[in-house]
Amino acid sequence: MQPSNFPTIFSITEDEIDLNDLLARITLTSTGAAAIFTGMVRGETSRRGSTQANAGDEHQTEYLEYEAYIPMAEEKMKQVADEIRAKWDAIEGIAIVQRIGKLYPKTPTVLIACTAAHRDTGVFEAARYGIDRLKEIVPIWKKEVSPGGEFWVEGEYMPKAGE
Protein backbone atom coordinates (compact mmCIF):
# COMPACT_ATOMS: atom_id res chain seq x y z
CA MET A 1 0.00 0.00 0.00
CA GLN A 2 1.28 3.45 -0.88
CA PRO A 3 1.58 6.06 1.88
CA SER A 4 -0.74 8.22 -0.19
CA ASN A 5 -3.49 5.77 0.66
CA PHE A 6 -2.89 6.16 4.37
CA PRO A 7 -5.75 8.08 6.00
CA THR A 8 -4.99 11.35 7.75
CA ILE A 9 -7.83 13.04 9.59
CA PHE A 10 -7.54 16.48 11.12
CA SER A 11 -10.49 18.34 12.47
CA ILE A 12 -11.44 21.30 14.62
CA THR A 13 -14.99 20.76 15.69
CA GLU A 14 -17.66 21.76 18.16
CA ASP A 15 -19.04 18.22 18.12
CA GLU A 16 -18.36 15.39 20.54
CA ILE A 17 -15.18 13.44 19.81
CA ASP A 18 -16.26 9.93 18.75
CA LEU A 19 -13.33 7.60 19.42
CA ASN A 20 -15.03 4.56 17.89
CA ASP A 21 -15.67 6.38 14.64
CA LEU A 22 -12.21 7.95 14.42
CA LEU A 23 -10.49 4.65 15.16
CA ALA A 24 -12.50 2.90 12.44
CA ARG A 25 -11.56 5.60 9.93
CA ILE A 26 -7.80 5.09 10.48
CA THR A 27 -7.92 1.28 10.59
CA LEU A 28 -6.74 -0.41 7.39
CA THR A 29 -6.78 -4.10 6.53
CA SER A 30 -3.09 -4.16 7.45
CA THR A 31 -3.60 -2.41 10.80
CA GLY A 32 -3.08 -4.36 14.03
CA ALA A 33 -2.40 -1.66 16.63
CA ALA A 34 -3.55 1.82 17.60
CA ALA A 35 -2.31 4.25 20.22
CA ILE A 36 -4.75 6.98 21.14
CA PHE A 37 -4.23 9.98 23.37
CA THR A 38 -7.14 12.02 24.63
CA GLY A 39 -7.14 15.07 26.88
CA MET A 40 -10.10 16.03 29.02
CA VAL A 41 -11.21 19.09 30.97
CA ARG A 42 -10.09 18.71 34.59
CA GLY A 43 -12.66 19.86 37.14
CA GLU A 44 -10.01 19.92 39.87
CA THR A 45 -6.71 21.31 38.68
CA SER A 46 -3.33 21.79 40.28
CA ARG A 47 -1.55 25.00 39.31
CA ARG A 48 0.08 24.65 35.92
CA GLY A 49 3.54 23.11 36.06
CA SER A 50 3.19 22.28 39.72
CA THR A 51 2.80 18.53 39.97
CA GLN A 52 3.74 18.61 43.65
CA ALA A 53 0.98 21.10 44.35
CA ASN A 54 -0.35 21.19 47.88
CA ALA A 55 -4.05 20.67 48.35
CA GLY A 56 -4.28 24.41 48.90
CA ASP A 57 -3.05 25.01 45.37
CA GLU A 58 -5.94 23.14 43.84
CA HIS A 59 -8.83 24.92 42.32
CA GLN A 60 -12.11 24.13 40.67
CA THR A 61 -12.84 24.66 36.99
CA GLU A 62 -16.39 25.36 35.88
CA TYR A 63 -15.56 25.06 32.20
CA LEU A 64 -12.94 25.79 29.56
CA GLU A 65 -13.69 27.85 26.49
CA TYR A 66 -11.57 27.00 23.46
CA GLU A 67 -10.99 29.08 20.36
CA ALA A 68 -8.87 28.38 17.29
CA TYR A 69 -7.42 30.16 14.29
CA ILE A 70 -9.14 27.47 12.28
CA PRO A 71 -7.50 27.55 8.82
CA MET A 72 -4.02 27.88 10.27
CA ALA A 73 -4.76 25.23 12.92
CA GLU A 74 -5.80 22.81 10.19
CA GLU A 75 -2.57 23.47 8.30
CA LYS A 76 -0.49 22.97 11.43
CA MET A 77 -2.34 19.75 12.27
CA LYS A 78 -1.43 18.49 8.81
CA GLN A 79 2.17 19.52 9.51
CA VAL A 80 2.15 17.54 12.78
CA ALA A 81 0.89 14.50 10.85
CA ASP A 82 3.63 14.97 8.24
CA GLU A 83 6.26 15.21 10.98
CA ILE A 84 4.95 11.98 12.55
CA ARG A 85 5.15 10.15 9.22
CA ALA A 86 8.68 11.45 8.65
CA LYS A 87 9.80 10.14 12.05
CA TRP A 88 7.93 6.80 12.16
CA ASP A 89 7.51 5.30 8.72
CA ALA A 90 5.42 2.36 9.98
CA ILE A 91 2.53 4.66 10.88
CA GLU A 92 -0.55 3.94 8.78
CA GLY A 93 -3.44 6.19 9.87
CA ILE A 94 -3.36 9.42 11.87
CA ALA A 95 -6.25 11.34 13.43
CA ILE A 96 -5.81 14.72 15.09
CA VAL A 97 -8.97 16.32 16.48
CA GLN A 98 -9.48 19.37 18.67
CA ARG A 99 -12.89 20.16 20.05
CA ILE A 100 -13.57 23.87 20.61
CA GLY A 101 -16.26 25.91 22.32
CA LYS A 102 -17.40 25.71 25.94
CA LEU A 103 -16.32 22.37 27.42
CA TYR A 104 -17.12 21.07 30.88
CA PRO A 105 -15.12 18.81 33.23
CA LYS A 106 -14.60 15.19 32.13
CA THR A 107 -15.23 16.08 28.47
CA PRO A 108 -12.61 14.90 25.96
CA THR A 109 -11.20 17.98 24.24
CA VAL A 110 -8.46 16.61 22.02
CA LEU A 111 -7.52 13.33 20.38
CA ILE A 112 -4.35 12.08 18.68
CA ALA A 113 -4.50 8.56 17.29
CA CYS A 114 -1.92 6.63 15.28
CA THR A 115 -2.24 3.16 13.78
CA ALA A 116 0.32 0.65 12.52
CA ALA A 117 0.60 -3.05 11.75
CA HIS A 118 2.22 -3.81 15.13
CA ARG A 119 2.54 -2.10 18.49
CA ASP A 120 6.36 -2.06 18.50
CA THR A 121 6.64 0.26 15.50
CA GLY A 122 6.38 3.62 17.23
CA VAL A 123 2.61 4.09 17.59
CA PHE A 124 2.88 5.05 21.27
CA GLU A 125 5.79 7.42 20.65
CA ALA A 126 4.02 8.90 17.62
CA ALA A 127 0.85 9.66 19.58
CA ARG A 128 2.92 11.22 22.36
CA TYR A 129 4.84 13.32 19.85
CA GLY A 130 1.57 14.38 18.24
CA ILE A 131 0.03 15.81 21.41
CA ASP A 132 3.32 17.47 22.38
CA ARG A 133 3.57 19.18 18.98
CA LEU A 134 -0.10 20.15 18.95
CA LYS A 135 0.50 21.99 22.20
CA GLU A 136 3.46 23.82 20.63
CA ILE A 137 2.42 24.87 17.15
CA VAL A 138 -1.33 24.46 16.54
CA PRO A 139 -3.03 27.83 17.12
CA ILE A 140 -5.71 26.98 19.68
CA TRP A 141 -6.24 28.68 23.03
CA LYS A 142 -8.35 28.06 26.09
CA LYS A 143 -9.81 30.28 28.74
CA GLU A 144 -10.50 28.75 32.11
CA VAL A 145 -13.66 29.83 33.91
CA SER A 146 -13.79 29.03 37.61
CA PRO A 147 -15.70 30.30 40.66
CA GLY A 148 -12.79 32.66 41.31
CA GLY A 149 -12.90 34.27 37.87
CA GLU A 150 -11.59 33.57 34.41
CA PHE A 151 -8.14 33.57 32.88
CA TRP A 152 -6.51 32.62 29.62
CA VAL A 153 -4.22 29.62 29.80
CA GLU A 154 -1.07 30.54 27.89
CA GLY A 155 1.51 28.17 26.56
CA GLU A 156 5.24 28.73 26.75
CA TYR A 157 6.49 27.63 23.35
CA MET A 158 7.57 30.32 20.88
CA PRO A 159 7.50 28.70 17.40
CA LYS A 160 10.41 29.39 15.13
CA ALA A 161 9.95 30.98 11.72
CA GLY A 162 8.73 28.43 9.21
CA GLU A 163 8.05 25.87 11.94
Partner: protein
Protein backbone atom coordinates in the same frame (compact mmCIF):
# COMPACT_ATOMS: atom_id res chain seq x y z
CA UNK B 1 1.19 50.88 0.31
CA UNK B 2 0.27 47.27 1.04
CA UNK B 3 -3.07 46.11 2.27
CA UNK B 4 -2.92 43.68 5.21
CA UNK B 5 -5.57 41.98 7.32
CA UNK B 6 -4.80 41.42 11.00
CA UNK B 7 -6.53 38.62 12.95
CA UNK B 8 -6.42 38.71 16.76
CA UNK B 9 -6.97 35.72 19.02
CA UNK B 10 -7.35 34.98 22.74
CA UNK B 11 -5.85 37.74 24.95
CA UNK B 12 -4.91 39.82 21.91
CA UNK B 13 -8.50 39.78 20.69
CA UNK B 14 -9.84 40.65 24.13
CA UNK B 15 -7.36 43.49 24.68
CA UNK B 16 -7.90 44.90 21.19
CA UNK B 17 -11.65 44.55 21.58
CA UNK B 18 -11.82 43.48 17.91
CA UNK B 19 -11.26 40.27 15.98
CA UNK B 20 -9.86 41.75 12.78
CA UNK B 21 -8.27 44.96 11.57
CA UNK B 22 -7.66 46.03 7.97
CA UNK B 23 -4.62 48.28 7.50
CA UNK B 24 -2.65 49.93 4.71
CA UNK B 25 1.05 49.77 5.50
CA UNK B 26 4.29 50.78 3.75
CA UNK B 27 5.55 48.12 1.34
CA UNK B 28 8.73 47.58 3.38
CA UNK B 29 7.07 47.33 6.80
CA UNK B 30 8.32 44.46 8.99
CA UNK B 31 6.49 42.58 11.72
CA UNK B 32 8.53 44.62 14.22
CA UNK B 33 7.35 47.80 12.54
CA UNK B 34 3.75 46.58 12.69
CA UNK B 35 4.12 45.80 16.40
CA UNK B 36 5.51 49.30 17.01
CA UNK B 37 2.57 50.86 15.19
CA UNK B 38 0.01 48.80 17.15
CA UNK B 39 1.78 49.66 20.38
CA UNK B 40 1.52 53.35 19.62
CA UNK B 41 -2.06 53.31 18.36
CA UNK B 42 -3.46 50.70 20.80
CA UNK B 43 -1.50 51.02 24.04
CA UNK B 44 -3.94 48.66 25.76
CA UNK B 45 -2.43 45.76 23.76
CA UNK B 46 1.12 46.43 24.98
CA UNK B 47 1.01 43.79 27.74
CA UNK B 48 0.26 41.15 25.12
CA UNK B 49 2.85 42.25 22.58
CA UNK B 50 5.80 41.15 24.73
CA UNK B 51 5.13 37.46 24.11
CA UNK B 52 2.98 37.68 20.98
CA UNK B 53 3.29 35.02 18.29
CA UNK B 54 2.84 36.31 14.74
CA UNK B 55 1.92 34.44 11.58
CA UNK B 56 2.03 35.66 8.00
CA UNK B 57 -0.30 33.74 5.70
CA UNK B 58 -0.60 31.01 8.37
CA UNK B 59 3.13 30.45 8.82
CA UNK B 60 5.03 31.59 11.90
CA UNK B 61 7.00 34.75 11.12
CA UNK B 62 9.90 36.45 12.93
CA UNK B 63 10.05 40.16 13.71
CA UNK B 64 12.29 40.92 10.74
CA UNK B 65 9.87 39.49 8.15
CA UNK B 66 8.70 42.05 5.58
CA UNK B 67 4.94 41.96 5.23
CA UNK B 68 3.81 41.02 1.70
CA UNK B 69 0.87 42.52 -0.17
CA UNK B 70 -2.57 41.27 0.97
CA UNK B 71 -1.02 39.37 3.86
CA UNK B 72 -3.20 37.65 6.44
CA UNK B 73 -1.44 38.31 9.73
CA UNK B 74 -2.34 36.38 12.87
CA UNK B 75 -1.41 37.78 16.29
CA UNK B 76 -1.87 35.62 19.38
CA UNK B 77 -0.31 34.40 22.62
CA UNK B 78 1.65 31.12 22.78
CA UNK B 79 -0.83 28.37 22.00
CA UNK B 80 -2.59 26.43 24.76
CA UNK B 81 -4.74 23.85 22.96
CA UNK B 82 -5.17 20.25 23.87
Amino acid sequence: MNHVKLLFFATLRERMGIKTLDLDVPADLTIQGLKDRLSAEYPKVNASLKSVVVSINREFAPDESVIPQNAEIGMFPPVSGG
